[in-house]
Symmetry: C2
Amino acid sequence: MANGSTKEKILDAAERLFARSGFHSTSLRTITTEAGVNLAAVNYHFGSKDALIGEIFRRRLKKLNGQRIKGLEKVRKEAAERKTRPDLEATIRAFIAPSLPLLRSEQGTCFITIVARAIMDPNQQVRQIFLREMKDVLALFFDTLQSALPHLPQDALFSRLQFMLGIMGHTMFNAGKPSWNPLKLEQETGIDILFERMISFVKAGMEAPLE
Amino acid sequence: MANGSTKEKILDAAERLFARSGFHSTSLRTITTEAGVNLAAVNYHFGSKDALIGEIFRRRLKKLNGQRIKGLEKVRKEAAERKTRPDLEATIRAFIAPSLPLLRSEQGTCFITIVARAIMDPNQQVRQIFLREMKDVLALFFDTLQSALPHLPQDALFSRLQFMLGIMGHTMFNAGKPSWNPLKLEQETGIDILFERMISFVKAGMEAPLE
DNA sequence: GAATGAATAAAACGATCGTTTAAAAAGGTC
DNA sequence: GACCTTTTTAAACGATCGTTTTATTCATTC
């Protein structure tokens, strides 16, 4: 897919507009106008609006989850060489860190916004498109977590993994957006500080004692 | 508002259908058909579709946040009498616990689903309607947390509060729904167990050391 | 029981949606 | 330069949306 091609112009425009107004409220006419292409181009190149949505996820998640898998396998390899358990914090970082660069670009932030919404989207197709793309990396992440926290029962660990996904979705969705601000904190918290806070919170939660 | 009145029939039907298909994908025709009333009834009784959405939040959040405030004030009073800091776990429980009964009824679960979506809704009006209803209780919760964790800087605590909201939204949205299941855990985790896990995770995260 | 206002009902309005069609333009091959 | 495929364009299709209008029914009050 050539850079600047019609397909890419559509994908970029759709990414921005879906982030701003959601899947259902963004019309193909708005997308094609923003992209500077003809209305019929979406159905010609992608087949349908749903297929376009799927392609938006596929395009970014392939690289993103590839980095996650590479990071997780590095953690596992190092643990095997040291004959220890995988380091918990390193495991968490391997999953979270690759998403940080996305939040440094406007276009990447749009994608994050879309992902956060897709998890709770009413349209089941949207959720399944996203889940299919995440299945492998989530399985590897869960497995590594289990090795790092061998005393935790599987279903308790699964709950805690879900907690972490909830934190990530909510935090990254709100990053850079004006949201509820209880005491009008002057300076916006930077992304890097936010990520460090997220990691220390999740790490402590993962290590919390069982009732 | 009388029980079984047209307004209530519309609110109940809309709550179910919004949870199933989202705000934008649920038409007034579907709602009024499910409610067994005339199409024009929504605009007559509520003014517009957006106003109906707002009323759905108001109806439940008034009671829900009332219970939260009552619980939080009890925690604060007990701390004042004992001349100690508010108990962290009790503070967290006071905020989370009132939402548990909702998850025990089908209709209440629909409301939870709607709330979780509203937080990330593309429509700014939807988000603001929800935020306005939550502002007071969030401020009181933040203030109590600050008393319970006086060593934490305000902005760090604020981040952790956001993490907790992310956990709540994600967890309660997924409760009772089929979602990603890595190892096909046979039995579904009960709501009560899930809440206890949530509380211990959040408590540990709140108490995590600062970098 | 007539009068007044609230509630319900049926029908239509204008607008917008995703998709399809058919023709024109562009690109590549021999 | 003719031929074929790919891509772009303009126009239309059928369906559905939130809302409004107008008329009718219901309930209440004097």
